[in-house]
């Protein structure tokens, strides 16, 4: 089964071309701090969307896993303040951080392997809160509340990572690769089994698949995705603090995924973009002392009007279908 049809490739490439051209069309603030920020947070949100959309697992631990990658980079970075006892060059550090996140994802999957729905939510929430409190109280490795600063990122072709274009294009490249990775994986036998588990784990188990192993593997893959997001977010924020992975950061990622729509990976990026726009400009369009009220109201309206996010809203308005329903039908066709 091909991953994408010819038309889909064409449209995808057109969107990608537009994104590639954006830095030349938009003011620099929009490139780096709206689009760039939306892309890096969107990657973490997409790891949640992947789990939710194809596995039916709502995990609140994705921000924590991104944080594990971020702290791995920060603790071992050559430019870190305070500098650790050991450090590695960035080319070795980034794969190591992503590997750590993948491993952490598998561990979270293993811990939560027997839980579903609200219990899964509670376990992953507990892990997330626990890790951020640990980071806040650990001075020796994580430098406590102040966190680790000055994580500048690698030089790419002689340009510093802080350079707007380097940051934007690197993030876009990583996001695009991960996005297509998700689309590819869900068409593989592994992805199809995963969707089977979402719809009916007992039946999948009866066919002879090991549900537990598939679940842990899907969490590991989500950890891999979130790890890349965590590395890029740490470079974007020039460092990491316990606040970057705390309860509010966790909720923010959940909000991005939900308002975008949990039905398809692209929803994560749309949600991240909408969130970033409101987070940045709400104070400009509304009273500065009370702008959080506006943000809250907008999200409330989106979720009320369309429980499946902006993607669902778009689908209902146009009569088009995306994501989940189609994937389910695919399963039905097969079985």
């Amino acid at each position: 089964m091909p991953m994408l049809s010819r038309l889909q490739w064409a449209i995808s490439l057109a969107v990608l071309a537009l994104l590639l051209a954006l830095p030349f069309l938009l003011p620099s603030f929009w490139t780096g701090n709206i689009m760039g920020r939306a892309i890096v947070y969107g990657i973490v949100a997409m790891s949640l969307t992947f789990l939710a959309s194809y596995g039916g697992f709502i995990s609140l631990a994705q921000t924590m896993i991104a944080g594990i990658a971020g702290y791995t980079v920060a603790v071992l970075a050559p430019t870190a303040i305070p500098l650790g006892n050991h450090w590695l060059p960035y080319w070795a550090l980034i794969p190591l951080a992503v590997a750590a996140a993948t491993f952490a994802g598998a561990v979270v999957g293993l811990i939560a392997v027997r839980t579903r729905e609200i219990y899964l939510l509670m376990i992953t929430l507990a892990l997330a809160v626990g890790f951020s409190l640990f980071a806040q109280s650990n001075i020796d490795w994580f430098n406590g509340y102040e966190g680790i600063r000055n994580i500048l990122g690698p030089d790419i072709f002689g340009y510093p990572f802080r350079n707007l274009y380097v940051f934007y294009y690197s993030s876009l490249l990583v996001a695009t690769a991960l996005y297509f990775l998700v689309l590819y994986v869900v068409k593989t036998p592994f992805g199809l089994v995963l969707q089977g588990i979402r719809d009916n784990p007992r039946r999948v188990s009866a066919i002879g698949f090991n549900v537990g192993v598939h679940r842990v593997a899907s969490f590991a893959l989500a950890g891999f995705i979130a790890g890349w997001g965590g590395v890029l977010i740490t470079f974007y924020n020039i460092g990491i603090t316990p606040g970057s992975i705390g309860i509010w950061a966790t909720v923010n990622v959940l909000v991005m995924a939900v308002i975008g729509g949990l039905g398809h990976p692209i929803g994560a990026f749309i949600g991240a973009l909408v969130y970033t726009l409101f987070d940045t400009f709400a104070a400009t369009i509304y009273d500065r002392d009370r702008f959080n009220t506006l943000i809250g109201l907008v999200f409330l309206v989106i979720v009320l009007v369309s429980p499946d996010g902006l993607l669902g809203l778009f689908r209902r308005l146009t009569g088009w279908r995306t994501g989940r329903s189609v994937a389910t039908e695919t399963m039905e066709e097969k079985t």
């Binding site: 889909q8 938009l26 689009m35 102040e146 924020n237 398809h264």
Partner: protein, 423 residues
């Protein structure tokens, strides 16, 4: 069916992206006769009331000159953070890159300050002046040429306290009850440098932030400790003092700079017995004889009847930093050309008196050198207030030590410095 799937979702993305291209606002264009000052404080989260008070003080500073300097109008863009470094950084980027401000005044808390210090290093022709953040490393280690701080920080704030406890109170062994994070470490270091050098010994008892039960700590206070040094803030300090008073404790209490805050002073309960006469050190006191302070507090109360009874430490720090910016702008007639070279030069050399009447000037790391006050809690007609009774003049960030020597001591931590009894 599969075909529809991706094409539709990518179409959504395309439309969304196109919409933003079309609606993306043009960046604000700076006019010649306008100086744009951005500010960041915490109007959300745990320090929201302190952040509000900070903006009150900034408003006072701008109103004093009627938002005008050398014929140029000052435009003030306010932003809010929630005391998280990432949020402060996102707001600073927005102010610099979208609103095109010339100067940022802020932020309020320690980790935010360090984040903005790192960001300021990447900027050209922009200046960040601290608001109220007090982490030592913001200016002590790896300082940024574009970051200025006209308020003193946590280590400086305890200047004079160690000598006072050893010489005046005659106590040679104290029990230190402190919260286990960066700000208390800095305060403890300032206290212990003096106290240990004078010959005192310290038994340290750390507690996590937001501790409610201090039973085990109280049980561990050594018999021969002559006083308790309490470096805690807010509800933690209240919880400790209440519990200590209930167990019949009667050792004198020495406070840190944030111990004697309004939470403690206005709360009623058994801790009040221990509070009166509590000695602490810091950059401000509610009661101070200096005419500048009396005048400033009166102006504050008149301008903001719904503000605090006495301006908070955040109001004081934001005012001091804003004042420095305005003085430097006056000095150069509001000229910010040449990547702000003349302005930054003037800012580095500005010397003035803060509302406490203390002289403020900068060291070579652009960190304030100023006076620190010994304070005592007094019963002022039924209201508990802090009163200044002693001054340590011109406290430097290296606490009067040679800077190399001070840096060689290392960052403050649980174990640094150390002078346990019997050593």
């Amino acid at each position: 069916m599969l075909r529809k799937r991706l094409s539709h979702s990518t179409a959504v993305a395309a439309i969304a992206a196109a919409a933003f291209v079309l609606t993306g606002p043009a960046p604000a264009t700076a006019e010649d006769d306008v100086i744009v000052i951005g500010s960041i404080t915490t109007l959300e989260g745990p320090f929201a009331t302190g952040g509000q008070d900070a903006y009150r003080a900034m408003e006072m500073a701008f109103e004093e000159i009627d938002y005008t300097i050398a014929g140029k109008r000052i435009e003030w863009i306010r932003e809010s953070s929630d005391a998280q470094a990432d949020v402060a950084l996102a707001r600073a980027r927005k102010l610099i890159e979208q609103d095109d401000v010339d100067i940022i005044i802020g932020p309020l808390s320690g980790a935010e300050g360090i984040a903005l210090r790192d960001y300021s290093r990447t900027l050209e022709g922009k200046t960040i002046v601290n608001g109220s953040s007090g982490a030592a490393d913001t200016t002590l280690r790896d300082p940024s040429p574009n970051f200025f701080r006209f308020n003193t920080e946590g280590t400086q704030w305890t200047a004079g306290l160690g000598n006072y406890v050893y010489d005046e109170l005659g106590v040679d062994h104290v029990a230190l009850v402190a919260a286990d994070y960066a700000f208390p470490y800095a305060q403890v270091m300032g206290f212990m440098l003096e106290y240990c050098a004078a010959g005192g010994a310290v038994t340290k008892l750390w507690s996590p932030l937001n501790t409610t039960d201090f039973g085990s700590i109280i049980a561990n206070i050594p018999e021969d400790a002559g006083a308790i040094v309490l470096i805690q803030g807010g509800t933690d300090a209240l919880a400790f003092l209440t519990q200590y008073a209930e167990t019949g404790g009667d050792r004198p209490i020495i406070g840190g700079s944030i111990t004697a805050d309004q939470t403690l002073l206005s709360a009623r309960g058994p801790h009040q017995r221990l509070m009166e006469g509590m000695v602490a050190a810091g950059p401000i006191a509610d009661l101070n004889d200096d005419p500048m302070w009396i005048e400033w507090v009166e102006a504050y109360r008149e301008r903001f009847p719904d503000g605090f009874d006495s301006p908070s430490i955040h109001a004081f720090n934001y005012y001091t930093n804003t004042k420095a910016v305005l003085l430097a702008l006056e000095e150069v007639d509001g000229d910010l050309s040449d990547n702000q070279a003349a302005f930054q030069e003037a800012l580095a050399n500005v010397e003035f008196q803060n509302p406490m009447g203390a002289n403020v000037r900068l060291d070579h790391n652009r960190q304030a050198i100023s006076d620190i006050f010994l304070t005592r809690v007094v019963n002022d007609g039924g209201t508990m207030r802090t009163e200044a009774f002693g001054t340590t003049e011109g406290v430097t960030q290296s606490m009067g030590m040679d800077e190399e020597e001070f840096l060689a001591l290392g960052s403050p931590s649980r174990d640094n410095p150390d002078c346990p009894p019997g050593s």
